[in-house]
C-alpha cells in the first residue's frame, strides 16, 4: 500500500467511526427528530471548506510572493476539495431545510453567501482551465483565490450580521448537550482528516500532471531552441 492508499483507508475508517457517533452515540433531537443528525456532517463540511479555502489563500499569497510551484499546486488541490465540501454543505443543508423549513432553498444571507462562495471557487477552477498553463494560470488563479476568500468571513458572520433564518452558531455558544458536542467534535476531526487526505491525493495528481506536461513540453522547447540557434 502506498502512503496515499493508507491515508484513504484511514480516513474512510475515521468517517465510519464518525457515522457511528452520529447515529448511535448522539441522542435524537427532541424537536427535529432524526433529521437533526445532518447537522454534524453539514457543519463539519463547512468548516473543512473554510480550511481548504484558507489553504488556497495562503498558497496564492506564497505563490505571488515567491513564485513557488508547490504553493500553487497546493492551492489548486485545496480549491477542488473545498468546492467538494461546499457542495456537501449546500446539499446536506437543503436536505435538512426541506422538512424543517418546508423548502429546500430560501434567499437567506448564509445560504446565499455560501452559494456565492461555491460560484467563486468554481470560477477559480475555470480560470485555471482557461488561462495559459504555468505562470499565467498560477498568477491569475492566485489573485482570484485571494479576492474570493473575502466571502469566507461573510459566510461565517452572516448569521450575526443579518437576521437570518439559518440557525446561529450553536457550538461556540455552548448550546449543545454534551453527547451531541462529543459527536460533533469527533465528526469534525474526522472530516478535517478526510479533507487533508483528499488534498494530499489531489496534490500528488497535480504534481504528476505537471511532471508529465514538463516531460512532453521540455523536448519540444529544446528542439525549437536548437532550431532557432541554427
Amino acid at each position: 500500500m502506498t502512503r496515499h492508499e493508507q491515508g484513504s483507508a484511514a480516513s474512510v475508517a475515521l468517517m465510519l467511526i464518525a457515522g457511528g457517533f452520529i447515529f448511535l452515540f448522539a441522542p435524537t433531537d427532541a424537536l427535529q427528530g432524526p433529521v437533526q443528525r445532518i447537522f454534524y456532517l453539514h457543519v463539519s463540511a463547512a468548516i473543512a471548506a473554510y480550511g481548504c479555502f484558507a489553504v488556497v489563500l495562503i498558497g496564492g499569497v506564497v505563490y505571488l510572493w515567491k513564485e513557488n510551484a508547490a504553493a500553487d499546486r497546493l492551492a489548486r488541490a485545496a480549491a477542488l476539495v473545498g468546492l467538494v465540501f461546499t457542495t456537501v454543505t449546500l446539499v446536506m443543508g437543503m436536505i435538512w431545510a426541506k422538512p424543517i423549513w418546508g423548502t429546500f432553498w430560501t434567499w437567506d444571507a448564509r445560504l446565499t453567501s455560501t452559494l456565492v462562495l461555491w460560484i467563486i471557487y468554481a470560477g477559480y477552477l475555470m480560470v485555471r482551465r482557461l488561462a495559459e498553463p504555468g505562470r499565467q494560470s498560477a498568477r491569475f488563479a492566485a489573485v482570484v483565490g485571494i479576492f474570493g476568500f473575502i466571502d469566507v468571513p461573510v459566510v461565517h458572520f452572516s448569521v450575526t450580521w443579518w437576521r437570518t433564518q439559518h440557525p446561529g452558531p450553536v457550538v461556540l455558544n455552548d448550546a449543545l448537550p454534551p453527547r451531541m458536542l462529543v459527536a460533533f467534535l469527533i465528526t469534525m476531526a474526522c472530516t478535517l482528516v478526510l479533507a487533508a487526505v483528499m488534498i494530499a491525493i489531489r496534490y500528488r495528481i497535480e504534481f504528476l500532471t505537471d511532471q508529465a506536461a514538463e516531460k512532453v513540453v521540455a523536448p519540444i522547447v529544446a528542439q525549437t531552441r536548437a532550431g532557432d540557434a541554427r
Binding site: A122, G123, M126, V127, Q136, I146, F147, G148, I150, V154
Partner: protein, 221 residues
Amino acid sequence: MRSITIALAVARKDLASEWRTREIVPALAQFVVLALVIANFGFQFDSRNAPAIAPGVLWMALVFAGLVAFGRAFAAEREQASLEAMLMTPAMPAAIFAGKALAAGLLLVICEAVLLPALALFFAVPLTFDEVSAVLLATVGMAVLGCLFAAMVAQVRARELLLPLLTLPLWIPFVVVGGQAVQSAMGGGGTATGSANGLLLDLDILFVVLTSLAARFVLDD
C-alpha cells in the same frame, strides 16, 4: 505623483479614443434603455409595484452594462496589442491599471446619466440625490474590480464567458448595499442611505487598495 500623471494620461487616452470612435457609450445607452423595456414586460409593471421593482431593474441594467464596458476596456487594447507596448514603458502597472479603471468607470457614469433619468421617467420613481450618490459610490468599487478581472480575462481563452463568472460574485456586496440604499431612496423601505453610503465608501477603499496591489500580478507578464 508620477503615477497619478501616468494614470491620468492613460485615462485621457482611453476617453479620447472613445470620443473619436463613439463605440461604447451609444451602445451602452441603448442597452440600458432596452433593459428597461424588457423589464417592463418581464415584471408586469404598474404604478404600485414601481418602488419595489425599479431598484432591481436599475442594478440589473447597471451590472450588465458594467460588464460590457469593462470587458471592452481591455478587449480593445488586446486587439491592437497596445497593452504590451504600454507595459514596456517604465510606468508602474498599477498606474496604468488605475488609468484604465478611471476611464472605464467614467464611461459607466455617462451610461448612468442615461439610465437613472430614464428609470425615473419610465418607471415614475423619484430621482434623488441619495440614489445618485449610492450609484456613484458603487461605481468606483465596481470599476476597479471589473477592470482587474477584465485585464485578466483579456489574456485568456473564452474571455466573454469568464468575465461575468469572476466579476459578478465580487460585485454582490455593492449590489446588496447599493440596492438597499436605492430602495430606501425610492421610498420602498430598507436601511438609511447615510449608513449605506458609508459602507459603500469602506468597500470602495478596500477594493481600490486590493486591486492596486493585485494589478501588478495581472498585468505584468
